[in-house]
Symmetry: none
Subunit: 223 residues, 4 copies
């Protein structure tokens, strides 16, 4: 959809407005879908409900998104991006240190989970067990996050002079951390509502993680 342009290549003012409106609608629909998927469930939410909730027609939803699957995929991609930026920022600020791992954990539990429980529901619950394509994007999301952690932990190890127990260790650390993030969020966000106590809970989870990490370094004192 090439936007109309003026002779010198810049966009017409009205084209710009339309561009903006378009982007706005896209986000509105996505937000409505996120809320519905998280509260009602992916399968229980019909395209019509999503359209109604976004205050557009069913056709409009199909204009912006290829199909229902595309909706959840876009959602996952955006959430994945947000999650990675959020955590990445921590490392940008504090460098590749064990301290950053602590901070990242706190940010995840105390900020991300608390502010975006619905986004957590999408990536940890609603996107599971759907079509192959969705599962592929889910894998991508987790792989990227795992990759980030992997990269960070590798750097930390290098910086702080550690080596890993074996070739799997770094990856297992990354996967385990993701597992803890996921299940603690699931447990205390969806099953109990302990969003109030996520601070001490997160603190303990982080402590668990740090212990686990250290134990996979070669010279780890605990065995």
């Amino acid at each position: 959809m090439p936007a109309k342009k003026t002779k010198n290549g810049s966009l017409t003012p009205s084209a710009m407005r339309r561009q903006r409106e378009r982007e706005h609608r896209y986000q509105t629909i996505l937000a409505a879908a996120e809320k519905l998927f998280a509260t009602e469930g992916y399968h229980k939410s019909s395209m019509e409900q999503i359209a109604n909730a976004s205050e557009v027609s069913v056709g409009a939803v199909y204009f912006y998104f290829k199909n229902k699957e595309d909706l959840i995929i876009q959602l996952m991609d955006e959430i994945g991006y947000l999650l990675r930026s959020t955590l990445g920022t921590v490392f940008l600020k504090h460098g590749a240190t064990m301290e950053s791992f602590k901070m990242a954990g706190h940010v995840f539990f105390e900020d991300f989970c608390v502010n975006y429980p619905e986004k957590c529901a999408i990536i940890f619950r609603e996107s599971a067990g759907q079509s192959q394509l969705v599962e592929k994007h889910r894998k991508d999301l987790f792989d990227k996050c795992t990759g980030d952690v992997l990269q960070a932990i590798t750097e930390v190890a290098k910086n702080e002079g550690y080596t890993f127990k074996d070739k799997y260790s770094a990856e297992i650390i990354a996967v385990s951390i993701m597992g803890i993030y996921e299940r603690v969020a699931y447990q205390y966000l969806f099953w109990q509502d302990q969003s109030k106590n996520l601070k001490p809970i997160g603190r303990d989870a982080v402590a668990f993680i740090l212990g686990g990490v250290k134990n996979l370094f070669e010279e780890a004192p605990c065995t």
Copy 2:
């Protein structure tokens, strides 16, 4: 279903055979459903497919199970039972020690995951994000497992003279362990097929767990 009985109260031979056949059919259907759900996905598997795979009529499936939901719930309950027995046996043999935690991890990764990848798919993937009732049973399953770990770790702490960092610690340990189990299984069973390498992978995961656990004990040397 009161089975016909002989005068002395025992079952008629023919009644016993029917009882057996009945149980057999029940299990056959359940097995077919497990396989289909795990490979095709819960929603993609129709009741007709399940009936065909079990070589019975649709009506027969409904004779043994209230509805499709009931099928996955029974499946979850049986799998939950199997998982808990499997892990429980370890503790029965080795007592409430840190060693048992190691063993349990190995049994889970090297035995349970390898022998029952489809059961893992049911509890970790297909049962997520379904109806409220299914979610309730899923919570029950995880709660029970978490409870088992919680009880074990509490005992270990008592036996070995540890105290926990704070009131959440023991529960966080349990939840984190479940998270690691789940995600490591998911990663290396469904996303990569590393069932061959589950031994070293499991070993590292267990090491991570042990480090995490120790770190939530009061006098933990790692902080």
Copy 3:
């Protein structure tokens, strides 16, 4: 099913007992069906429910009745017979007089409706709009009742020296009376529960009927 007989042609004692039991079961099932049809509705009542309510197996129901349709047909036939005997008895006692018409009305509203509301539900509600065969039996039932009334009114006319307005009159009287019976019962038995007040209600209905009848006699004083 010819029952076993002794040499002299009479029934074996055990054959007699079985005969009795058979009849008893038949009636038990019929009674259960009547109750279920009347309270739950013909379509909502499954053969299994009927079997359970009669405390026999589904197969047994099919032994005594050809199919579900047969159940309601037998029911209608029995109810039809009971209704006609009940009303016929009145005419046997009091002869073919206008007085008998009064009495019959009172018996219908005050006795039949009150004692057998479920039988009324079968013939006036549940049997309507079913299969052609059921409808045929329904027509038979009403035709017979109408025929009884027709015969009675014809006799009354002869006895009391009346002639009818035209060739339809006698039949219209009969049909109208059935219509009043039916709708008054329906209204005050199923829609309101005025079984307590069926006496004054029936009295008025009977008065209406008497007025109607007289008005279709040639020399009727009212026009």
Copy 4:
């Protein structure tokens, strides 16, 4: 369903056309359902048959009607409205007199029954003994008709200086008239096909009614 409007608040021409088409489809489906229900029976008519008969898809039927039950309910409501207008018009023209009662009867038997035998089948046969909701609408329909008659007879009584035998009389008159209407229609429309002779039949039925009514007036000469 808010239709698009022009600035001055009136409907866009194309919106009006769509509105018309919509209404047309609705009526087409309803008409097809009426015919099918009346000829094949409510239960024997599947939604697919109704869709085919209306030359729309199954989905379209569900777009216009909530479910099958809704179809018969809408039908009953429309028929009820038609019946009441038809009879009401008589009273508007001729006032609350006994003459109007005569006329109404003739209109019902000679016009309504003859022109709309299928509508009669719906309200007198197919709607009986269905779900509770349908029964509720059926009661409503009859209650309204009874109410109309009740109101009319009360006015007639007042106008012509009659009083009723007792407190039930007026209502019993109304109910009885409905009963006669119903059963005479049922008998001569569905069971015999005497639509040709409905004139003399109706005449006698009306005579019966008039006699009945008079007999429930206090000073009625017949007792």
